[in-house]
């Protein structure tokens, strides 16, 4: 697996400090960007948390996901959560080491009481003493929160005290970015009041492994609750690997409602889903990949858009217009950029894969954030995309008579790619047979798409030239 390393540098460890002014949660920051450009230790917020105990529990849940691997748990995962300040809210995000669970805590304006909330994205340090201190936080006393050191502190420190160098797997980065694109296809499927939410989440199996994996994969809203079912009936939501919702147990006591988001049921295959617990002034959302053994990185739902390359310039244009908006209004962007809504959407999809936007299912809107990693590069190195480029480069694609089918020669054999009049595609390879496009196009379809695009572009260029000659 190809991977690079990522270095965190914090001025000091994040900690809960007891001072004269009461208890203070100081989250330290490392790297990232703000509207003013790259920053070493940005500060986004200083003020009080309206509900200290639920906030502490929810932060721990995010940290749990960052440190967890729900598949092959013997391997390690140790990437720090990402925090984004969107001006009116703080978002804490993390992505599990197995690339299958994405967690986000949105601390809304109602959950914060303090200075203005800044703009920007950075990493926050999480360490063992911090975990213990967060667990100890009781409901009674007020808790002050500071995200990032203040300007004075930055100048008085000689340099970072906490430096961590961790491997940054490409598939992790890719999965983190692509989760947003997957979530953009979700709709609200069910909403449970507190008591039912608690009952439902408690009824889920805790253990992983075989026992957990075999339990009902789907739930369907029924009455006031969710009923496990054995099949994807209309309106059902997939719950793959229910033990992966374990992090929600931390906040169960504070839950006010549970909302479930998922894509429309299509076929019998598993699907991703998002589970949002409403907390006082906060929302904690876990997004699960379609299978515990199947990370978001392999879903490849956006590969088609990446392969064509038309959205690239649009994406640059749109990216320049973004400034950490909590809700990206597509109509506004269209007006500002002069592109139509469809092209803005395509550009946003592309930005999503580059880690430049997130998706908030509760708001049904994208939000701006820039992952503090070099995410665009990872997407370009997608194995399937690379393989498709290699096929095109080797001249393996041959369009057949009539244009509806194409033969792709791979080593000693061929696969046939079919494109029907409506633009739907199919392939004879095993990947397609297994997932039927549900995990994105196979390399053959991508390669044929690239060749077709090149053809049409050549064709138009040729026509233009002819016209000019006349």
């Amino acid at each position: 697996m190809s991977q690079s390393a990522h270095a965190y540098a914090y001025l000091r460890p994040s900690a809960v400090l007891d001072g004269e002014a009461g208890r203070r949660l100081a989250l330290e920051t490392s790297g990232g960007t703000t509207p003013l450009g790259a920053a070493a230790h940005p500060r986004f917020f200083a003020g009080f948390l309206a509900e200290p105990a639920p906030a502490a529990a929810a932060l721990l849940a995010v940290a749990d996901v960052a440190a967890a691997r729900y598949y092959q748990p013997q391997l390690r995962a140790s990437l720090d959560p990402v925090v984004t300040a969107n001006g009116d809210r703080l978002r804490f995000e993390s992505f599990s080491g197995c690339c299958g669970v994405y967690a986000r805590l949105d601390v809304l304006a109602a959950g914060l009481d303090g200075d203005e909330i800044g703009h920007g994205t950075t990493n926050v340090d999480v360490n063992n003493p911090l975990r213990e201190a967060l667990t100890r936080i009781g409901p009674a006393e007020p808790l002050h929160l500071a995200v990032g050191p203040d300007a004075l502190e930055v100048t008085t420190f000689d340099g970072p005290v906490v430096e961590k160098k961790v491997p940054l797997p490409e598939r992790w980065l890719r999965g983190f970015a692509e989760t947003q694109v997957t979530a953009a296809g979700f709709d609200l499927r069910a909403e449970l009041p507190a008591a039912e939410a608690v009952r439902f989440l408690r009824s889920l199996p805790r253990g992983g492994g075989r026992a957990g994996a075999r339990v009902a994969q789907w739930v369907v809203p029924a009455g006031r609750t969710l009923r496990p079912t054995t099949r994807p009936v209309p309106g059902a939501v997939c719950l793959p690997g229910p033990e992966r919702l374990a992090a929600l147990q931390r906040v169960l006591r504070h839950a006010r409602a549970l909302r479930v988001y998922g894509p429309p049921v299509a076929g019998t295959g598993p699907a991703a889903s998002a589970w949002e617990v409403e907390l006082p002034g906060m929302r904690l959302t876990l997004t699960l990949s379609p299978d515990a053994s199947r990370g978001f990185s392999g879903e490849g739902g956006v590969l088609g858009a990446l392969a064509t390359g038309t959205a690239e310039q649009d994406a640059d244009l749109v990216a320049a217009l973004l400034a950490w908006e909590p809700r990206i209004e597509i109509a506004e962007l269209a007006e500002q950029s002069g592109l139509d809504a469809a092209r803005v959407r395509a550009a946003l999809t592309r930005l999503g894969t580059a880690g430049q936007i997130g998706y908030d299912a509760a708001e049904a809107a994208y939000f701006h954030r820039q992952l503090p990693y070099d995410a665009g590069r990872a997407e370009a190195a997608n194995p399937r995309l690379k393989a498709a480029r290699a096929l095109v480069g080797a001249g393996a694609v041959r369009l057949e008579e009539g244009g509806a089918t194409a033969l792709v020669t791979v080593d000693d054999h061929v696969q046939r790619v079919r494109t029907d009049a409506a633009g739907a595609v199919g392939c004879t390879c095993l990947w397609w047979a297994k997932y039927r496009g549900g995990r994105g196009p196979c390399k053959h379809v991508l390669a044929v798409g690239m060749v077709r695009e090149a053809r049409t572009q050549d064709g138009t260029v040729g026509e233009v030239r002819e016209g000019a000659a006349r």
Partner: protein
């Protein structure tokens, strides 16, 4: 080996005398021949430059050795490891070399020669190398690099590496005998006291995962020879700060982790035995533990209650603890918490106010008995608490189970649960009636056929639609342009060659591949001369074919024969929806098309189509059928006119074969001797004969043969090769009762023999057509009492679908469930879980209809364990569905003296039913 070879090396390589090139060659030769023991001596003869010059050769040797699995190659790895450790000048390169994964195979790192070579290097180099090695990740149970690192660290006295893996390995090996001087026995405590690593590594132990096993282990029964005792001992003797250890241990417990680890660290905490004062200083840790695993929460609760009694902590702690504990589901913890609260109020009546409010947190507890207990506590302390708490109590009381509303109203002097209670006007909420998915248009192009065939072959459980469309598509396009189809199929057939060898498994949908292979000209259907039907020549018949597999085989084989001969334009038996049903209109049209094209219907194709065609009373369709002239057409017309295949009556039979009835099965088991089941017998039917005395082919008649419960049937169905699928159900889409009767043993297995995964077909049957009789209701009953939750979930699905379609006979299901419980086949606890799941979705009337019929049998005799849950569920469902009319058994039970929960629930139910 090593001591002997040291002498040899001295004779072969006297340092400094041999030519450098020769010495290098000698080293490489020793490596090639795997003489590991000689390597240190040969290395000693080389200067730094020569050693460095060996590295490329060693790398090359290691590379070529990689694919070699011979014994010599394995020996060579050891020599390579040692030589590389000596030849790498830089510490980073040497550490990478030594820690490489391919050397770990035979624990070569433990070879003494490696230690010798490392020891001969400069001290700074050694420290750097072991530092890097210690930071590498170990492989789990045993880490071969540990002894090497440990040796260097102890010898040089450098900083102790504190990586997770090094600590974990120290934890495992510190207890080993090698740490004590030979011949003397020392306990773990004594070894830890003298070990120079203890100071640095013991605090790290509290940060490790998966340490339960070494921490739990008692090496001997002596005190101090297990980790908890030893850690406590270190604190006692002042080797380690007691406060520090308590903080580390509590910090670890607060942070959380795997349950086994948490237990182990709890044992450490117990061994440290903090005093009440020490605990009181860490009250927030204890409160945090209340949210942890049950065993930790129990411990923390006990300690906190003790501290509270001793007056060492703030009185508010009791309230904060209650908010956490009373939210938990463990009855033991909740009861203990209520007892603690009651103690507080007894001790200091002035705290009664906070106490009753804290106890009221349990009003929303999922267990009604817990609610009652909390209500009792509140009732006893209400007077002392005063009237100020009443408004809050009233608000909390809204969460109470309606069964407690009357008492709460009486206690708090105001109505509880009156307004806003939607329970009495509950609408029965059932899932929408499923509409069978249409099959979809025939596959339009050969390329699509190839794609779908690939899908069929790749799927573990292919859909009915995929198989049927592929089968039909292959026939259609073979008719249109066989050569084009063959070209299109090529990419799929290349990776899925037809295995024309002896088959032992059943015929499956994926065997449509055979048809594709025939079309591509790669297999010959052995047509003609009667040879085809000869035993052993049928390519789709294996040694374990089921009757369903034989039907499938007959259809595929017939299609294969015909694409090689008269090439029909399409198949008759392709269903029009995914349940397998064909509309009568479609079948009549297809037959008319055959007549127009002058094609004869294949017997298997026609047989399958007749079993699938939906009965119709539409005169227009019947008239159109009457106009058909071919033999097949006339039979189909008669079939439609006479109502087709008659339904078989189900007869209720008790199946209890008892001992000594038959031979043991292939696993030498005689499990059926203990089985007691209600089962179903059916007389069988051959299907109506055609106008010209045509009969269904033998394979199809076999589907409909009579069945009765027997050891043979139970055994056959118990075979793991015998696995019903939607494809089987699609053979008789209008006769689910017949299918249920034949599959009953398998579903019953889920309940009385606790088999897993037998019930999913219940949903398919619930969605299929035909009357739902005794067999289907019995199958559903067994499914609701299945051992595994996914089977019960499938049964609940089926129950709700049947109810939504109006096919459920709740009284029949209830009566049979009562019988099954009495026979011991279904356990009431499991049944209660399944029916609760159904009731939670809003199907209260359905659940009540079932339970009302089951209660007489359940309460008639000695009530088995779990009956209470069923009665409680019945009371709830009866209240929500506004059921009326007394049930004598309930009235009798309610009249029995006693205060058990069963009697209480029965009384609640009796009162509900008696409400005018």
């Amino acid at each position: 080996m090593s001591t002997g070879t040291v002498k040899t090396t001295k004779t072969t390589g006297p340092a400094g005398t041999a030519e450098p090139a020769e010495a290098v060659e000698a080293l490489l030769a020793a490596v090639r021949e795997g003489r590991t023991g000689e390597v240190p001596g040969l290395l000693a003869a080389l200067g730094p430059a020569e050693r460095r010059s060996c590295v490329p050769a060693l790398k090359e040797l290691r590379r070529t050795n990689r694919g070699d699995w011979s014994g010599e190659a394995k020996q060579r790895m050891g020599a390579l490891l040692v030589a590389g450790a000596g030849c790498h000048p830089g510490a980073a390169g040497a550490a990478t070399w030594i820690g490489a994964r391919d050397f770990s195979g035979r624990s070569w790192a433990r070879h003494p020669a490696l230690a010798d070579v490392v020891e001969a290097q400069p001290v700074e180099w050694q420290i750097e190398v072991v530092g890097r090695l210690a930071a590498k990740r170990g492989s789990g149970w045993s880490w071969d690099l540990y002894p090497l690192i440990e040796r260097v660290v102890r010898r040089t006295g450098c900083a102790v590496p504190a990586s997770d893996d090094f600590t974990a390995e120290w934890l495992r090996s510190a207890a080993g005998a090698e740490n004590g001087p030979r011949g003397t026995f020392t306990t773990l405590l004594e070894r830890l006291r003298t070990d120079t690593f203890t100071r640095a590594l013991l605090p790290r132990v509290f940060e490790l995962d998966d340490v339960a096993w070494p921490l739990d282990r008692a090496y001997t029964t002596r005190s101090g020879d297990n980790w908890p005792d030893a850690i406590a001992g270190l604190a006692e003797s002042g080797h380690f700060g007691r406060e520090e250890l308590i903080d580390l241990c509590l910090g670890r417990l607060v942070r959380g982790g795997k349950i086994a680890d948490q237990r182990a660290f709890l044992a450490v905490l117990t061994a440290l035995a903090p005093t009440p004062q020490e605990y009181a200083a860490r009250v927030r840790d204890l409160l945090a533990l209340l949210d942890g695993p049950s065993v930790l929460a129990g411990h923390a609760q006990q300690v906190l209650a003790g501290l509270d009694e001793a007056g060492l902590i703030e009185p508010e702690v009791a309230g904060e603890a209650s908010a956490v504990v009373l939210f938990r589901t463990e009855k033991k913890l909740v009861r203990a918490q209520l007892a603690w609260l009651e103690q507080v109020a007894k001790r200091s009546p002035e705290r009664s106010g906070p106490v009753v409010l804290a106890a009221a947190e349990a009003f929303g507890h999922p267990d009604s008995a817990v609610q009652e207990r909390a209500l009792n506590v509140v009732a006893r302390r209400l007077k002392a608490a005063g009237g100020a708490v009443l408004p809050e109590l009233l608000l909390a009381a809204e969460a109470l189970n309606p069964a407690h509303h009357a008492r709460a109203s009486e206690l708090f002097g105001a109505p509880v649960g009156g307004s806003g209670d939607d329970d009495t006007a509950w609408d029965e909420l059932l899932p929408p009636v499923p509409v069978p998915a249409p099959l979809g248009a025939p596959l339009a192009t050969p390329v699509e056929v190839a794609e779908e065939l690939a899908v069929l072959l790749a799927a573990e459980q292919p859909d009915v639609a995929v198989f049927e469309r592929v089968l039909d598509g292959l026939v259609r396009h073979a008719h249109r342009d066989r050569a084009a189809l063959a070209v299109a199929l090529e990419p799929v057939l290349r990776v899925n060659p037809w295995q024309d060898v002896g088959r032992w498994r059943d015929c499956r949908p994926g065997d449509a591949l055979y048809l594709a292979t025939v079309i591509a000209g790669r297999a010959d259907p052995h047509r003609g001369g009667g040879l085809f039907r000869r035993k052993g020549r049928n390519p789709l018949h294996g040694t374990h074919n089921t009757e369903y597999g034989k039907v499938l085989a007959a259809r595929i084989l017939e299609a294969a024969e015909r694409v090689a001969a008269d090439r029909p334009p399409y198949l008759l038996a392709t269903p029009t929806d995914a349940t397998g049903a064909i509309t009568a209109t479609a079948l009549v049209e297809r037959l008319a098309g055959y007549e127009a094209a002058g094609v004869t219907a294949g017997p298997a194709d026609l047989g399958a189509a007749l079993l699938r065609v939906a009965p119709t009373a539409d005169p227009a369709v019947r008239a159109a059928a009457g106009r058909l002239t071919s033999a097949a057409g006339r039979w189909a017309a008669a079939w439609l006119r006479d109502g087709g295949l008659p339904d078989q009556p189900s007869e209720r039979v008790l199946f209890a074969p008892g001992a000594g009835s038959s031979h043991a099965d292939r696993y030498a088991e005689r499990w059926w001797e203990e089985v007691k089941r209600v089962a179903v017998a059916q007389p069988g039917s051959a299907g109506p004969a055609g106008p010209a005395r045509e009969r269904l082919p033998a394979e199809f008649r076999a589907l409909l043969e009579g069945t009765e419960p027997s050891v043979a049937r139970a055994r056959r169905v118990n075979e793991w090769l015998w696995e019903p699928t939607a494809h089987w159900a699609a053979m008789l889409p209008h006769h689910r009762e017949e299918l249920a009767a034949r599959w009953l043993d398998r579903i019953a297995d889920c309940a009385d023999r606790e088999r897993r995964g037998g019930a999913p077909m219940l949903v398919v049957l619930a969605e299929a057509g035909g009357p739902a009789g005794l067999a289907l209701h019995l199958a559903l009953g067994y499914g609701l009492g299945a051992r595994y939750p996914e089977d019960r979930a499938a049964a609940v699905d089926a129950l709700l679908v049947l109810a939504a379609r109006g096919d459920l006979d709740g009284a029949m299901l209830g009566r049979e469930l009562g019988e099954l419980v009495a026979l011991g086949a279904v356990k009431p606890t499991r049944l209660a879980q399944a029916l609760t799941a159904a009731a939670d979705t809003g199907a209260h009337t359905t659940v009540w209809s079932v339970l009302a019929a089951a209660l007489p049998s359940l309460l008639g005799g000695e009530a088995p364990r779990g009956t209470t849950d069923l009665v409680a569920l019945a009371a709830d469902a009866a209240r929500r569905s506004a059921a009326r009319g007394p049930i004598p058994e309930v009235t009798d039970t309610a009249a029995r003296p006693g205060t058990s929960r069963l009697l209480k629930e029965a009384r609640t139910l009796r009162d509900l039913l008696a409400t005018p």
